[in-house]
Amino acid sequence: MTATITDRGTASGAPSPGRPVRVLSFSQRLSRWDVKLSPYLYISPFFIVFAVAGLFPIVYTAVISFMDWDQIRRSGEWVGFDQYAWILQQPKFWVALGNTFSIFLLSSVPQLILATFIAAMLDRHIRARTFWRMSALLPYVVAPVAVGLIFNALFADNSGQVNEWLGFFGIGPIPWHVEPFWSHVAIATMVNYRWTGYNALILLAAMQAIPRDYYEAATVDGAGPFRQFWSVTLPSLRPTLIFVIITSTIGGLQIFDEPRMFDQFGRGGAGSQWLTITLYLYDIGWGEWNFGRASAMAWILFIIILAIGLINLLVTRSLVRDEGGRGPVLTRAERRAAARARRREARA
């Protein structure tokens, strides 16, 4: 028993010269494998599911994006980068890209300002606190499609409530479904309705983690509520704000439900006024059944999100680094060097 294992060990292992060959019993070997392999086995279900449900579609999409693909017959012709070239040549694509960023900015900026304000209000001593906090989250629970339907009725050009209300102030009917800018405002309103409360609660949680001593000290120093907000609350919120900004960026670039529900056709308007990238992608895929082009577009979108994610990461790092308190931030190479040095010390 032991002999065979030793044989196998020497045959496959080719031990480095100068190192003594250690002879292990089978059970010792088992326990070593247990220590080394078990953790991987325990986490493997996730990775198997990921490989099947995540990695496979990604690779499949990549392959299809180079083909003129017939989804029904599951066959296609290799066309190289033609689909990518086609997408990049479409004026609609660039319009959609512009719309996506416009809607993103129109929704994220007011949303964050409003969320911070609401959070600051909820952080104060008010009556029926839980009630107010839950109310802030309520819109988040409503399904986006339902929000779309409701707002679609509100923002109807002729018969909509919003134009009626604006009429009381003498503001003439706004062509929500005609002018690109106003359609973006209307869609951004739906996004804000849904996400402001959610972000406010995240910011509220961060606010409550700020040590109250800071405020006491500030009060003693004579700082009023506004000064406290600017000099204590906002700086302490920075990491949370960055998290909120990153998630809303990713969500903003993938905006789909709201523009899709904005009119009866769901194709971004007759003049592509509110056509977003994902809406265009969906239309090419499920409207025209051209999955080659849709896949190419999905990859382009992926690269755009990746690029923006990287920019976000760099900005975040430079902002978070001077927060301090956690020691120097090391690069991977520096960490590896440090680990090597520690091992050498331990061996010696």
Partner: protein, 422 residues
Amino acid sequence: MTHRALRRTLAGVALASVGGLVLAGCTGGNGDGGGDAGGDIELTIATFNDFGYSDELLQEYEDAHPGVTIVHNRAATSNDARANFFQKLGNTGLADIEAIEIDWLAEGMQYSDLLAPVPDDLKGRWLDWKEAAATDAEGNLIGYGTDIGPQAVCYRADLFEAAGLPTDREEVAGLFTTWDDLFAVGAEYKEKTGKPFLDSANSILQGLANQLEETYEDADGNVIATENPDVREMFDTVIEKGVPISAYAGQWSEDWYASMANGEFAAMLCPPWMHGIISGEAPDVTGWDIADVFPGGGSNWGGSYLTIPANGDNVEAAQELADWLTSPEIQARAFANVGAFPSQPDAYEMTEVSDATNEYFNDAPVGEINSNRAAAITVTPIKGPKYFQFHEALNQAVTRVFDGLETPEEAWDSWVTEVSAF
């Protein structure tokens, strides 16, 4: 075996079963269920909106065919059904009978080999153009026609009266025999009342397009959209004469629904299935009536087919059911149920159809009117797989002009650019 080894084996088994589950998840939902050897058959039929195939109707078939159980799934919209159909066609997971709408029939015709053809002895049951649209290059008819949408003109008699126009349905029918007449009456009405005459400009485009044999593609499948003078003429007509008298660019918007109830427009080009929409959306409006006429001859809008995926488990039983469902008798009853107008000429003789009147539309003889409108259709438009992409894009061009986003020439040019990329 040691304790650890046992644990490891168990982990291995667990792992294998997780993998198995995942794989099962990939293929799950594809199993068809039916097709038992014991003679008991479960037939699934998938439709959308409302075909008029009530539970009582299906129960009758079950009673006459012991051992057959029918499961009827209804999708909310034709679009849902379309997505489902094309995602599963050629694979598994489709119902034994799948309903498809004429709007995406052309897309489906590319895959006519994946559908079981209608037996030859049933050919001739449907109107010629209804059959022609669902017949592929090899001469296989792949759809059992259900309903059609022969258009007539619906009008508000009260608004017509106020504008000094005739109100009697026969007299009104005399007003709209040609498109020019319609546009002239519309312009006159607009001048007198200051209100739009028709509901939407794109419904005029729809009516015109369905009167052309070749629009965007010719009989050989060549794309002629941008060179075809008929298309340009149709676009110009809608822009010059249709847009000024229309309330909206397109139908189905919030505003369109709202103004149907408010009486903002006086007439609509309306297929039979629109009757239910009008009476449902504007229950309090009185004065709607139907004139037995359509400008420039007949024009069909909408209608559906039942198809049978060739790789289903119960193709023969499904063919039998589809045959029964689309027989003139049953379609006449479906018409009585929900107003889906039959595509089978024999059904027009049946009392459910011939004697049918619609109370909401001033007791208009809808059966007779629709039969006449169906008979007036002489053109079978050629619709290739991209027909609706072209048409939809042209609709958007009209909308852009309507909304003042582009001049007619700009809208046409951007349409040409857009469709050249298809």
